[in-house]
Amino acid sequence: MNESYDVVIVGAGPAGISAACILADAGIKTMVIERGEYAGSKNTSGGVLYGYNLAQILPDFVARGCPIERNIVESRIWYLSKEAGLSIGYRDSIFANERKNNVFTVGRAKFDRWFAEQAKKKGALIVASTVVVDLLKDASGKVTGVVTNRQDGEVQAKVVLLADGVNSPLAAKTGFRPELKPEHVALAVKETIELPSEVIEQRFGVSAADGVTTEVLGEVTGGMDGVSIIYTNKNSISISVGANLAQFAKTKMKPYEMLEAYKLHPMVAPLIAGGKPIEYTAHWLAEGGFYTIPQLAGNGYLIAGDSAMLFNALHREGSNLAMASGKMAAEAIIAALKKNDVSKQSLSSYSKAMSESFVLKDMNKYRGFPGFLYNTHQLFDELPHVAQFAAREMLTVDGVTKKHKQKLIMDEVKKKIGLLNLAKIAWRGWRSVK
C-alpha cells in the first residue's frame, strides 16, 4: 500500500465523501480510507439529511438513486412527563411540493454506501476495511500521510483530511483534537423497528413518500440532559434516546433500559405497536458545541464534520454541517494544491470560509445552549411534571372553578420550581439561543 496521493481522507461519512466528490471532480488524486467493511457500515444517526447541502455536492442526487426513506413534511416537538405529553407540530404542503427533500430520512448504512459509490464514479478511490492508526509527519511536524493497520500500510499525501467522526482515537492520539470529556458528548442508542409502510402512513397520517420527525424532551431521560426522537422511514421507525455521557456515569442509568422505558411511554407505544426491532446501534452526538471545535486546519491537514465537533443540538443538524464543511475543506485543498502550498496559512482559507458560512455562525449563535441544557436539570424533571399538572387540571372538567385551578397550578409551580427560578430558567434559555 506504499503509495502517494494528493489527498487522503480518513473516513467515508458525509464529510469525507462530500470532500471526495468535489476533489475528484477537480481531477485531484484522492483516496478515502474507511474502517468498516463498506462505507456506512459503522455509521448511524437519527437519520435526517438535508437536500440543500447534498445538492451542493450532487445536484442530481434524486436521479442518481439516493436511497431516501421518507420526505419529511411535518416536524413535531414533544415535551413528556412520565405518563403524559405536550405536543406541537408543523406540517406544510410546501415540503411535499416546491421544497420537497428539504429534510428527508435515510438509513446511514445505505445512504453512506450509495454516497461513496458516487464519489467512486467521479474517480475517487475508496479503500474499505482499513483503519488509520496514525499520521505521518515530517521533521517540522507537517502531516505528510497516514499509517494504516495494513502490511506496509503507509500512504503519502500532500494533504490529509480528518473526517473520521466524533469518536476519534486518531484525533486524540495525534493531538489534533483533545480527547473528549464525557460532558462533551451525548450517548444515544437507537432501535430500528420494522413496520409495514401502510401502517406507518396510517399512524402518522402521511402519504406513501412522506414522513414525520418527532424530537422529544422531558422526563424520558430521567432528569438527565438528553433528547429522544421518533423518525419515520419507509418500512421502519427509528426510535432513539440519548443523554449526556457525564450524567449517564453519575445517574448509573443504563441506556438500553432507558430506551425500553421510552418505548413503553403512552405517547410512543401506539406508534410502534406490533413492530419488529431489526437493529440496535449506539453513537455519540458531538454536543460540546462551539467551544469544543478544534483548530480546523494546520500544516498538511484539515478536520471536518463530526471530528470537528460540528453539531447544532437545537436544530438537530449535523449531517448538513458535515457535508458543508467537507465541501469547504475540499475547496481550500484545491486552492492550496494549485498554489503548491499546503501550509497551515494556505489551508486556513478553510477556517475563514467556515467562519463566514452558516456552519460556524450557527454554532456561535448557539454557543451557550449546550451549557444551558447541561446545567438546567429542571427541564428534564420538575418542569415536565409541572406542565403535566397544569394541563391535567385545566383539561379535567370537575365543577371546580378555573380561577381555583389556576391557583392550584401556581401553587404547584411555586412548590416544585419557584416563580423566580422559572423566570431565571426562561431568561437563561432565551439568552443561550438569541
Partner: protein, 92 residues
C-alpha cells in the same frame, strides 16, 4: 414485555475478531473503583462484574467509545477493531 440487551445485540451483525480491541489497563484500579461507570454506561453491556474483576465481552461492542472517556481512571485501552471487523450496520 421489555427487551433484554442480549436480545438487542442479537439483532446486529458482527464480524468478531478473536482478539479483543478493548483492554483494561490495570485491573487493580477497577477493584478500588467506586463509580464502576463502565458497568452502567456501556450501551452493549460489554463490561460485566465477575467475582472481584471486570470481564469484557468485546464481541458485542457497538464502538461508541463511551467506556474510554467515561472510565473515571481512563483505565481502558480502546482501539477500533481491525478493518472490516466489529459491528456492521445493515440500516444504520
Amino acid at each position: 414485555m421489555t427487551m433484554k440487551i442480549e436480545d438487542k445485540l442479537f439483532l446486529d451483525r458482527f464480524k468478531v475478531d478473536e482478539e479483543s480491541h478493548l483492554k483494561i489497563i490495570d485491573g487493580e484500579k477497577c477493584k478500588k473503583c467506586e463509580s464502576q461507570a463502565c458497568l452502567f454506561l456501556c450501551p452493549a453491556y460489554v463490561y460485566r462484574p465477575e467475582g472481584d474483576r471486570i470481564a469484557i465481552n468485546h464481541e458485542g461492542c457497538l464502538e461508541c467509545g463511551s467506556c474510554r472517556i467515561g472510565c473515571p481512571d481512563l483505565n481502558i485501552e480502546w482501539k477500533f477493531p481491525k478493518g472490516g471487523y466489529g459491528i456492521s450496520h445493515k440500516f444504520g
